[in-house]
């Protein structure tokens, strides 16, 4: 089941940055990669992704280039050093947050249920 937008909101930037960790991708690929790697649970809409890429580029976390010569019109994105650093710091914070939330929510279930 896909996660709700509310739940995803704070981590979208990081998810997009993370999808670029192994190299260049274009928008359509990023959507597919996030969907596949999350078993369909992170299913972003195009209308969500492109503004994020636009913002990440404006703040210098990613840079882009247009593919030329192949006849295919594609805008490829790659992480910058700044983006890589942001991803690491953000990921560290998120994992810590997740652990904390887990501990806080634990009482919702009988012992050993989660």
């Amino acid at each position: 089941m896909a996660y709700s937008r509310d739940l995803l909101r704070g981590s979208l930037d990081l998810l997009v940055l993370s999808s670029l960790i192994h190299g260049e991708r274009y928008g359509y690929q990023i959507l597919n990669a996030l969907r596949d790697e999350s078993s369909g649970r992170v299913d972003l809409k195009a209308g969500t992704l492109y503004p994020i890429l636009h913002k990440l580029e404006a703040e210098g976390s990613v840079k882009s280039r247009w593919e030329d010569g192949s006849g295919r019109d594609r805008k490829w994105y790659q992480l910058t050093d700044k983006g890589r650093q942001r991803l690491q710091e953000g990921a560290r914070e998120w994992l810590d947050y997740a652990g904390c939330i887990r501990a806080l929510l634990q009482p919702a279930f009988p012992a050993g249920a989660v």
Binding site: G27, A46, G47, I52, H54, A58, E59, D73, R74, K75
Partner: protein
């Protein structure tokens, strides 16, 4: 649904994007590339092309919302565009019509194209085109006279002019070469904040601010809003006859002529060494001037009429003091005790605005050239002195060497440096 549908969507989206033309083109190209890619995948799953496009459009979501997401997330200096709300609604109406339009007859939301084509729908009756773009000079003039909000913070001139294109919804042609020849680059940053001034007045403030070496101007000419150096603009001079019997009563028209000469484009009339003429003949005024000055004359006459209608017992129009007069009055108000200790000039002016409820428009670019910046700290104190004197003192304190003056204009007080524009308070 068809490919045309996607074009219509992209056109609409691009119109909503509050970004530079280059950025908008970039986004448009990227989304189109996405469409191509996604269509292939959808077709491979056995969907028809129509189904595929519908699904992908769903994925993009509402055009206005998507545009807002791009613009809000953008790092660029942004500007408020409340003035174009109506235009945006119009765009929506158009898009909805497209959605229910029978296949094959789908009209295209075209930007800046010429005459209306068959199949296009007029929305709201008053608009000649489905997309709200007009090529009718009278319509353009009307839109230029509507009050707008402008909030430019170091916004490039090209974006500012783009804003006016959105507001007036017409073809805008900028005489780029001529501007650059006169040292006005399209990326010149503009900082200006106004509320409730007509679009043409606001545009003039912008052009005054950037046209330092040469006066810039604009003219509405055969469906195009043309912007460039004043001297290079085609000035279409025409002679109009205005029936003014209702405004004369006791006087013979001389005072009306004088009133117009004093208030509308004063330097352009022959009496003041200009080249245009105004004569009163019987109960009419014969005015020979340019098209846009005619528009201002007309506006003044309309204002006089509504003021008069309000004064008469049968008048249905509520009387509203002319803004200029109201401001003059406000300048006479005594302000209570004011103490500023090295406060920024901008903040001080804001305090005065809050106090007097009179808008103070400052052209910071212009003032910068007179050596005054918005964060210049000023120490000043006064007690029970008129607003006008306080203002004069403050400006003197801000720029001890080069005079910085204020002028009273319809809608507010403008602060300027007389080296650039000589509009002293009357």
């Amino acid at each position: 649904m068809s490919d045309m549908q996607f074009d219509a969507y992209l056109n609409l989206l691009t119109r909503f994007l509050r970004l530079s033309p280059r950025q908008r083109e970039e986004i448009r190209r990227e989304l189109r590339a996405h469409l191509e890619e996604a269509i292939e995948a959808e077709l491979a799953r056995g969907r028809t092309r129509e189904e595929a496009i519908t699904r992908i459009l769903d994925d993009f979501g509402d055009a206005a919302e998507l545009a807002a997401r791009f613009s809000v997330l953008s790092n660029r200096k942004r500007w408020i565009m409340r003035g174009t709300l109506a235009a945006a609604c119009l765009g929506f109406a158009t898009f909805t019509l497209h959605a229910i339009w029978p296949e094959g007859a789908t009209p295209v939301v075209a930007e800046n194209s010429g005459a209306p084509r068959a199949g296009e729908v007029a929305v709201g009756g008053a608009q000649p085109r489905a997309d709200g773009i007009t090529t009718d000079d009278a319509q353009i003039a009307k839109r230029l006279s509507a009050p707008i909000e402008a909030n430019f913070q170091d916004t490039p001139l090209s974006d500012v002019l783009e804003y006016f294109r959105e507001i007036v919804q017409t073809n805008v042609f900028v005489q780029r070469r001529q501007l650059e020849d006169h040292g006005v680059a399209l990326d010149t940053p503009v900082t200006l904040q106004t509320t409730g001034l007509p679009a043409d007045r606001t545009l003039r403030l912008v052009l005054d601010a950037v046209g330092t070496d040469v006066p810039l101007g604009f003219v509405v000419d055969q469906g195009v809003l043309l912007i460039g150096p004043e001297e290079k603009l085609p000035r279409r001079v025409m002679t109009n006859v205005y029936a003014v019997q209702d405004l004369l009563e006791a006087s013979d028209g001389t005072s009306l002529v004088q009133l117009i000469i004093n208030s509308v484009s004063p330097d352009s009339w022959r009496d003041n060494g200009g080249q245009y003429a105004i004569t009163n003949f019987d109960t009419t005024l014969v005015v020979r001037t340019t098209r846009d000055v005619h528009a201002e004359v007309e506006r003044l006459l309309t204002q006089l009429r509504s003021a008069r209608a309000a004064g008469s017992p049968t008048g249905a129009v509520p009387y509203k003091a002319p803004p200029r007069a109201r401001i003059q009055k406000a300048l006479e108000i005594e302000l209570p005790e004011l103490v500023f200790d090295q406060q920024p000039l901008e903040a001080i002016l804001q305090v005065l605005t809050d106090f007097t409820k009179i808008e103070i428009v400052v052209d910071w670019d212009e003032l910068k050239r007179a050596g005054v910046t918005r964060d210049r700290g000023i120490s000043y104190s006064s007690r029970n002195r008129p607003f006008s004197e306080v203002l004069t003192d403050l400006l003197r304190a801000a720029a001890p060497n080069r005079p910085v003056l204020y002028s009273v204009e319809a809608g507010g007080i403008r602060i300027c440096s007389p080296e650039v524009s000589i509009v002293q308070a009357r």
